[in-house]
């Protein structure tokens, strides 16, 4: 049982599984969405689904930044990379995401200057070290990452660094949840709320989900026990006919969020009137654009960007999977034409994408915490 011992309180994991079975009304079918891609990854990696009764279904949400980015934005960003003396800098997650004419890595193979950075601050450093070139940071991410991009822009402005700009694709999680709740083919009972987004925005922005939409929200950590406890908390609320916002991840998430991070975002960004999300379509006020005061450092305001809209490859059903209407394996391309080694859609690229998570863990069925815990419970 060495495997089980690696986890915090393995006994509690089996207990949480029992508690979920006790709380779930056998006459009901529960559909719970985990919003964050990090949770999706953990759920598949540990096979947590196997610990849940059949009538408690987990639906994978839109919280994977590279997955929700439409291909047109990648094409737009890469079209600038073709300029002479131009450096295209992005996080490693972006590098294998396919655009119409290839991924950033394939552009690099064709001789364009494409660099992986681990921090927006490093993209800024590249600009300082390469004054004869223009460095564009292709920014992606939810509220977890947006404050770091914002601070980097304030630093660029303070230094008066002219050869740096940001191609901003930052999105915000609340409008996406609203779009999903408004979608007629989506019936959900509650949400496992994102962990690290909430360290920035806190728990208050979720209140309308509980108060107006009547759905419980539990902000959750990433360990198996965290996720199972959050499901227990959701089922308990549902059984009592309650809908409130609870914080299971108190050890990291303050209720009020991080005010300094929110201030930095407010200083640099404003809401776009609308933004296209892969799979979810256009969602109003769901993304951030760089304010006029920082126009010099906004790639879109500074350069001419084609602004293309590209439909996803027809056969790929990324949109349906992203909305939770289809499971990854129900897509026609899954595991055949679309694999993590040769991805067609973005959900197969990122480890937080539900297709990659499903392919790596569920599809291959390794030993998981779930079957280890079940074996352990049976042995006792």
């Amino acid at each position: 049982m060495r495997f089980v011992d690696e986890f915090r309180a393995p006994g509690l994991i089996a207990k949480a599984g029992e508690e979920i079975r006790r709380l779930a009304d056998p006459r009901r079918h529960y559909r719970i969405m985990e919003v964050c891609g990090g949770h999706t990854h953990a759920i598949y990696r540990f096979g947590l689904k196997d610990l849940l009764p059949e009538n408690v279904e987990l639906i994978h949400g839109p919280g994977c930044p590279v997955c929700v980015l439409p291909m047109g934005r990648i094409d737009d960003g890469l079209s600038l990379a073709a300029e002479p003396n131009f450096i295209f800098a992005a996080f490693g997650d972006m590098m294998r995401v396919p655009g119409t004419h290839g991924s950033p890595l394939e552009y690099k193979a064709r001789g364009m200057d494409v660099r992986i950075v681990y921090s927006p601050a490093d993209a800024l450093k590249l600009a300082r070290n390469n004054p004869e070139k223009h460095v564009m940071f292709f920014a992606i991410g939810f509220e977890t990452t947006a404050p770091s991009t914002a601070l980097t822009l304030t630093r660029a402005k303070a230094e008066g660094l002219r050869n740096f700009s940001v191609f901003c694709n930052h999105v915000t999680i609340i409008p996406a949840i609203r779009a999903i709740l408004d979608s007629p083919d989506m019936r959900l009972d509650g949400f496992v709320g994102p962990g690290h987004v909430s360290t920035v925005i806190g728990c208050r922005p979720y209140h309308w989900i509980a108060e107006d939409a009547g759905k419980p929200v539990v902000v959750s950590g990433f360990e198996p026990l965290d996720i199972l406890q959050s499901i227990v908390m959701l089922l308990r609320q549902l059984r009592n006919g309650e809908a409130k916002v609870e914080n299971q991840y108190k050890r990291v998430v303050p209720w009020e969020g991080n005010r300094a991070a929110l201030r930095a975002m407010g200083e640099v960004f404003e809401l776009r009137p609308y933004f296209e999300w892969r799979g979810l379509g256009f969602i109003s006020q769901s993304a951030l654009k760089i304010r006029a005061g920082y126009a010099q450092w906004d790639s879109e305001q500074r350069f001419s960007v084609p602004g293309v809209r590209v439909t996803d490859p027809k056969a790929a059903q990324c949109g349906e999977v992203l909305k939770g209407v289809l499971k990854p394996a129900q897509c026609k391309l899954f595991g055949n034409e679309c694999t993590p080694e040769k991805p067609v859609g973005a959900l197969m690229v990122s480890s937080e994408g539900s297709c990659a998570a499903y392919y790596n863990y569920e599809h291959r069925k390794p030993v998981t915490i779930a079957n280890a815990a079940v074996t352990s419970a049976a042995a006792n």
Binding site: P120, D122, P147, P194, T199, F222, E223, V252, A264, S351
Partner: protein, 102 residues
Amino acid sequence: MCLAIPGKIVELDLLNANQAVVDVVGVRRKVDLGLLADDPPIAGDWVLIHVGFAMSKISEADAADQMRTLNMLGEVDAAMEEVCGYGLENDEHGESPQRWKQ
């Protein structure tokens, strides 16, 4: 990319209040403290780091918890690659993330 990495502040930059050196399981890198401006950490504090920025102060026990979470999720290599990559210094010093593998 949404997993945060725990690190211990070992040194504050006297010339630049926004910078500190953190230690992540033996690897030392500069991180930006700007997002903790309301409650700046001091040497010895533990923080969660995301894309080169400290985003929250946490307890030592929670830092250990977070490192275990990364381990369980199979994300330690990716996290160490990220930390080693901060500052683009891995090229200069010839350090490879493998060196810090657990």
